[in-house]
């Protein structure tokens, strides 16, 4: 910086010192939510010497800091994709049609825990859990009901399913078949990210090696047959929800991504090809500036990783495309209407961060699954940002902000440090085995809890500005306890009416193929699903061959 500036700055700092003597600042030191130190003022010296073209660049061009497309939201808004699903396929289908009529542009399916963990509704492990956190899907029959009157060639569907993703994808394909929609026309996403299950989410089934095999089988199958399908949503959302910092969220997510690319590559798949269909899923948390910087840093980092580490030359495969969900764990049970405000700010940070698709949480998040009314408000939040706030009328508006560019750099630096440590340890699978990742997350979670309890971190309505709250008048969604019973009845009817011989044969074929690492399991799973083998039956066969994962505790 030139002499004039330096001198002026020094005068400014001297003035600040005088002010501080009279009026102290609220804290001795300020930092972002993720613990990065925050200066009082960011000025041009922060970005001095930065090579704009190399580090920031243009939207739609390497390293994609400013976005993955040149016109971003001036061309098309992000997909407004509200995660939904509960109880039975019939009730969820109703909610999906309601959402589509209200203006969502994509579906996002939430499955219940038994479905996510490969258990049918009549399994003893499923007791009490049917339909509670999402829709219960036991077989193709349920899937057909779920998408009744929903044209799969017109809608893109994201399915939050991981360990048994192959089965649910197979079901979706079969529903498309029945509707006359070929696989090549289907568009959507399966989450299919098992590593973060081991780290933070807990709905794993099989141990890491066979799980990676299933994932790469899907990559291979889809790149040949379902080209518009995003075969994985490498997730940081849950890692953040489990308590990590922003830099850790980026670092561990991208490290997972590295592990997946390596696995696919060693299977003989070309990163230039499957790389196009990798997608990511991040959290939109509280610290507004840090979050915007985080998304930009993630894009730049992934582009560098794909180019430098994996030699990817196809720009579409260097791009980090992502879905965002606002941070559920930031929402409070106390004074729930406040959550609408929190979600608005978080959603805005995701939009300014250039997200491709967004789910906004409902205000009753900390209490139950969203009611119709609260889900409507959440959707309207996105629509108001899109149509009324003006921020969508220009691309990457916060670029060039001294603090945002500074934080973008810092998060990248910090995240690369973590990735390097993971590399030195032998990669993400080893890091997870050793508990390295989990320990960092838990430590951050505990630190945050202490900060809240010491009131260093304020949560409005919880540790400050509390009110005496009587019975909240909110109408909460309740899931009918009879869902489980109804599902069990349906299962019995299904098993009585299907071709059980065909099912047996199909299951046996899966079992044999599972034993042979060189076989791709997808076609066989599709065959089994088509003859109405249940999810539990298919996963049961795979459990028999692959075994089950036991969690690694590091406390």
């Amino acid at each position: 910086m030139n002499k004039e500036y330096t001198e002026a700055k020094a005068r400014f700092e001297a003035g600040v010192l005088k002010t501080l003597q009279k009026n102290k600042e609220r804290k001795d030191a300020f930092s972002t939510g993720g613990g990065l130190p925050l200066e009082r003022l960011y000025g041009p010296e922060m970005t001095e010497g930065a090579d704009y073209l190399k580090e920031v660049g243009f939207p739609g061009e390497y390293p994609f800091t400013r976005g993955v497309q040149s016109t971003m939201f001036r061309g098309r808004f992000w997909t407004m994709r509200q995660y939904a699903g509960f109880a039975s396929a019939e009730e969820s289908n109703e909610r999906y049609r309601y959402l589509l009529a209200s203006g969502t542009t994509g579906l996002s399916v939430a499955f219940d825990l038994p479905t996510q963990i490969g258990y049918d509704s009549d399994d003893p492990m499923a007791q009490g859990e049917c339909g509670k956190v999402g829709v219960a899907i036991d077989s193709l029959k349920d899937m057909e009901i779920l998408f009744d009157q929903i044209p799969l060639d017109k809608v893109s569907t994201s399915m939050t399913i991981n360990a048994p993703a192959s089965v649910l994808l197979a079901m979706y394909i079969c529903v498309g078949e029945k509707q006359g929609v070929p696989m090549s026309a289907l568009s959507g996403t399966i989450q299919n990210d098992i590593l973060k299950e081991y780290i933070a989410r807990g709905t794993y089934i099989f141990p890491p090696k066979p799980s990676m095999r299933l994932i790469t089988d899907i990559f291979e199958f889809c790149s040949q047959n379902v080209p518009k399908w995003n075969t994985i949503s490498i997730s940081g959302y849950h890692i953040r929800e489990a308590g990590s910092t922003a830099a850790q969220e980026v670092a561990f997510t991208l490290a997972d991504g590295i592990a997946y690319v390596e696995a696919a590559r060693s299977k003989g798949l070309d990163p230039n090809v499957f790389g196009e269909r990798l997608s990511f899923f991040f959290n939109a948390h509280n610290d507004f500036l840090e979050e915007v910087a985080k998304f930009r840093a993630a894009r730049r980092m992934w582009a560098k990783i794909m180019k430098d580490r994996f030699g990817v030359t196809n720009p579409k495969a260097q791009m980090l495309r992502f879905h965002t969900q606002t941070g559920g764990s930031t929402l409070t049970a106390q004074q729930p209407e406040n959550n609408i405000v929190r979600v608005t700010m978080q959603a805005l940070s995701a939009v300014l961060g250039g997200t491709q698709s967004l789910h906004t949480n409902s205000m009753d998040e900390a209490l139950a699954l969203p009611s119709e009314k609260s889900v409507m408000i959440a959707l309207r939040t996105q629509q108001i940002i899109a149509y009324e706030s003006g921020v969508t009328n220009t691309v990457d508006p916060l670029a060039g902000s001294y603090v945002v560019e500074s934080l973008t750099n810092e998060i990248e630096e910090k995240a690369f440090e973590y990735i390097q440590q993971i590399d030195e340890m032998g990669g993400m699978l080893t890091a997870i085995e050793k508990g390295y990742v989990q320990k960092h997350i838990q430590d951050s979670a505990y630190e945050f809890q202490r900060a809240v309890e010491s009131k260093e971190a304020v949560v409005v309505g919880v540790n400050k500005f509390q009110i005496e709250e009587k019975n909240k008048d909110m109408k909460l969604l309740t899931v009918d306890a009879s869902v489980g019973e109804r599902q069990i009845k349906k299962l019995h009817e299904l098993k009585a009416s299907r071709d059980n011989a065909a099912v047996s044969n199909a299951l046996e074929a899966i079992r044999l193929a599972a034993l042979d690492e060189s076989r791709n399991l997808m076609p066989l799973i599709i065959d089994a699903v088509r003859v109405y083998a249940t999810e539990g039956e298919i996963c049961g066969v795979l459990r028999g061959v692959f075994g089950e994962y036991t969690e690694n505790i590091v406390l």
């Binding site: 492990m125 007791q127 859990e129 807990g202 929800e241 409070t332 209490l367």
Partner: protein
Amino acid sequence: MDERKIRVVVAKPGLDGHDRGAKVVARALRDAGMEVIYTGLRQTPEQIVETVLQEDADAVGISILSGAHTFYFTKIINMLREKDAGDIIVFGGGVIPDSDIPALLEAGAGAVFGPGTSTTVCVEWLEEAVAKKRAKE
């Protein structure tokens, strides 16, 4: 001479995999001098009850965020009673609507700590509850 430690089982029943809260509470209880037996995920009510008995726990903390709280709380409380262990304190937390709490307390839960509860409150309540329980022994 040892003072008598408070022993608490922290359990995750059912299929819910969200363990951030359970782990934070476990650490807080440990930092308050208690011995915490952490069961890990995917516990059946039978496993939880058997663990409580084998470990001679004073209390068991149940963490549920999946909506299946009424099912699990009542099952565990009833099983403990059947085994003549109704004196063991049952408490918990997670995503549990206020309107469901009275029924849980009626069924025999000592306390339900909703989102936003500080761990200090939890520790203090537990210490008091255990003192009361021991006074009756």
